[in-house]
Amino acid sequence: MRHALFSLALTFLAIAAQSAAGFEVEERHWIGPQDGTPLRVISTTDTEILAPLIKSYLLQNPGVAVDYTVANSSEVMKAVLEGEERFDIALSSAMDLQTRLANDGFTLPHRSAATALIPEWGEWRSHVFAFSLEPASIVLSASAFAGAGVPRTRQDLIALLRAQPERFRGRVGTYDVSVSGLGYLFATQDARTAEAYWRLMEVLGSLEPQLHCCSASMIERVASGELLVAYNVLGSYARARQDLAGKIVVVDPEDYTNLMMRSAVLLKGGSHPELARMFADHLISAAWSQPPAADYPFSKPPVAFVDSASPKRPIQLGPGLLVYQDAEKRRRFMAEWFSAVRKK
């Protein structure tokens, strides 16, 4: 159905995934007229997910095409830092990397009617703009937890894993923090927020966990029954998989749930900064308008989210995120994390 819409005056051109220069590209698409002015986007978000928004953007801006490159968050960072290929705008779920780009001067400031819609905690110094709010959830196998006993908090999960180590051995999963920027962000925020996190990692470590690059693979493995528990999975992805609805249970932990914000930064050195601004505004207004635009692909971001009593907390944008980007800090954290998780 999505693809049917695409054929409407637009061409959807998949360029063979190529390994350009120094960073690894997952996929690359040219969306829009062949001879259109290209807006070059580098993103961690799959093309399919953002396609409706890109399409509506192209409808509003005839003669423009979107050159959409997908890479994982560390590769997005690498692409920008090395600068061999120039992009106009970077979309990433790794808030710390986006903050780092803004702090180190790789981004352009932007203020518009759209950016004024963003709540204060959703943007940083008019350089980083959030356009989604997605929970770090626990995904459970529906069949394994059919007879109640679904853990609602980390404590519950720890108790459950400790109680039945044989049942869960080799069937628990989480992000590989050394591969996934988002996994690293979730892990560091967890470590900062709760003592229980390290205990959970110790317990996971004793159960020979499978480490994953991405949420999608964890969701699929839980659905297939290969995994019983996946920790720190993007809840928005899991809930979007209508086809797996009966096979997985998505739990937002009730002790606290970190909310990741997908964010956009306008890159310095892009060829079409004005197109990039319009694209950013398009994403932002789709996300933060009340109600959000019909083609907004994520679950609606709750604008009135400053309820401090809620266990759901957006990860705070700002220089605090730079701490975990520090090389020493990162080295130490990785060492500690792997010593917990790789324990036999």
């Binding site: 180190d104 940083w124 110094r125 220089p319 605090g320 701490v323 520090d326």
Partner: protein, 461 residues
């Protein structure tokens, strides 16, 4: 009011200009002082946060397995994010190089002594930054190693804050100026007030009021008021002297004149020659005129004196006019003039009886003097609520379009006065008496046109 006065400047304006000028100066100083103070405070508090951040980073540097390592606390950088949306940079160095952070941060170049933080301003990545560098010695494998931490932040937030502070300081300064100007206006107004009220009191005075100023005045004005009082008393003395002089002179002239007249009449009886008799009659007439003038001068002096210190008593105008009419009846009969009195119930005013009598007598004298043989003169007294009046009407021909106002000036005589003995003081006296009682003298031709009608009008008290 200031007609003919040489005006140079204005106390009020000068006061206002000086006060508003000082207010403006003070407001400017206040603005500068407030701005310098808040800027200082803002910079100091910002420096302190930088120092706190650097200290917590430095505290996190430790030695593990013989190697330096740092575990930067989350709060060390997030505290800077809470203050402003500025970019944050840091670096941890040791003599071997940079341990972690921004390698090219252009601060902390010179070694910093432990416990003595160094604050610097520099430019980095295209923006101005404020940085602090602190240091500490750690023991690495028994060797003391100085570790240095620099934390820097761009100054955008501070610039925004400073802009707000400038505006606040500006508002404070402007507010002070407005308030001080209002007070200056009020103060200038109130300091000029005693001067104004004295001016009013003096200019409100009647033409003959030569009493000294006794109202309380501020100390600064007392020399002016005492000079004014002494001027008034000198003026009063000088006026009194000239009145006395005139009275004295008139008195001295009148007695010898009476003697001369008697002698002249005696001689007239003895002289036979018609030519000599005529010249003697002329002489007697001249003597009469002088004597009458002297008499009126005396009257006038008396009137001036009494009006200066008017003593008010109840006077019955009807009674007064009837008495005078009766008294002058013989004089009128000599010329066959019918003198009528018309008056009913008593009409009373507060006044000086002697002065009033004098005034009425002068008017009546004039009427009889100028009336021809067999004519009639009426004296009427009437009171009607707000106004009491005595009216004297004759058939002596009236004033024939003359300036009747001029007739009441001293020594001015009517056009028909040539053959009549008189001095020109009669109506002047009448008018002065009327005005001393708050009334007026009205001179006009009678309704029949046969003569004049002179009216003394007094308001009811």
């Amino acid at each position: 009011m200031s007609a003919g006065v040489n005006v140079s400047g204005s106390i009020r304006r000068r006061l206002l200009v000086q006060l508003v000028g000082s207010a403006a100066l003070l407001a400017a100083l206040l603005f500068i002082a407030v701005l310098a103070f808040v800027r200082n405070v803002a910079e100091e508090s910002h420096d302190r946060i930088l120092l706190a951040s650097a200290t917590s980073i430095l505290d996190s540097v430790s030695v593990q397995s013989g190697e330096l390592t740092a575990d930067i606390p989350y709060a060390a950088l997030s505290m800077l994010g809470n203050v402003s949306d500025d970019r944050v940079f840091y670096r941890i160095t040791h003599p071997g190089g940079t341990l972690t952070g921004y390698d090219d941060l252009p601060v902390g170049g010179v070694p910093v002594q432990p416990g003595q933080p160094v604050f610097e301003s520099a430019r980095y990545k295209g923006e101005g930054i404020r940085a602090v560098t602190i240091s500490r010695r750690l023991s690495v494998q028994g060797v003391p190693v100085p570790v240095q931490v620099s934390v820097a932040q761009t100054r955008l937030g501070q610039a925004t804050l400073l802009e707000q502070l400038v505006w606040s300081a500006l508002y404070i300064g402007a507010g002070f100026f407005v308030l001080a100007s209002a007070l200056a206006f009020w103060s200038a107004q109130s300091s000029i007030k005693p001067l104004r009220s004295l001016t009013e009191a003096v200019s409100r005075r009647g033409p003959k009021d030569l009493r000294p100023v006794t109202r309380p005045v501020p100390a600064e004005m007392s020399p002016l008021v005492s000079s004014l009082n002494s001027f008034i008393s000198r003026l009063q003395a000088s006026l009194a002297r000239s009145e006395d002089f005139i009275a004295e002179a008139a008195h001295r002239v009148r007695t010898p004149l009476a003697t001369v007249r008697t002698q002249a009449e005696t001689t007239l009886m003895r002289v036979e020659k018609e030519k000599n008799r005529a010249s003697l009659r002329e002489m007697i007439r001249a003597i009469d005129e002088s004597s009458r003038a002297a008499g009126q001068l005396l009257d006038h002096a008396m009137v001036s004196f009494r009006t200066d210190s008017l003593e008010l008593k109840e006077v019955n105008l009807t009674e007064l006019a009837r008495d005078l009419t009766e008294r002058l009846q013989p004089v009128a009969e000599l010329k066959d003039i019918a003198l009528h009195f018309e008056g009913g119930s008593p009409v009373c005013i507060q006044g000086d009886g002697i002065l009033l009598q004098n005034a009425v007598r002068n008017i009546l004298d004039n009427a009889i003097k100028y009336s021809g043989q067999d004519s009639e003169v009426w004296v009427r007294v009437a009171g009607s609520g707000a106004q009491q009046k005595i009216e004297v009407e004759d058939q002596a021909g009236g004033f024939g379009g003359e300036d009747t106002e001029a007739l009441t000036r001293r020594f001015v005589r009517g056009a028909n006065a040539k053959d009549t003995i008189g001095s020109g003081l009669g109506l002047t006296i009448a008018r002065e008496v009327a005005e001393a009682h708050g009334g007026s003298l009205i001179i006009k031709n009678s309704q029949t046109g046969a003569g004049a009608c002179v009216t003394l009008c007094f308001p009811s008290h």
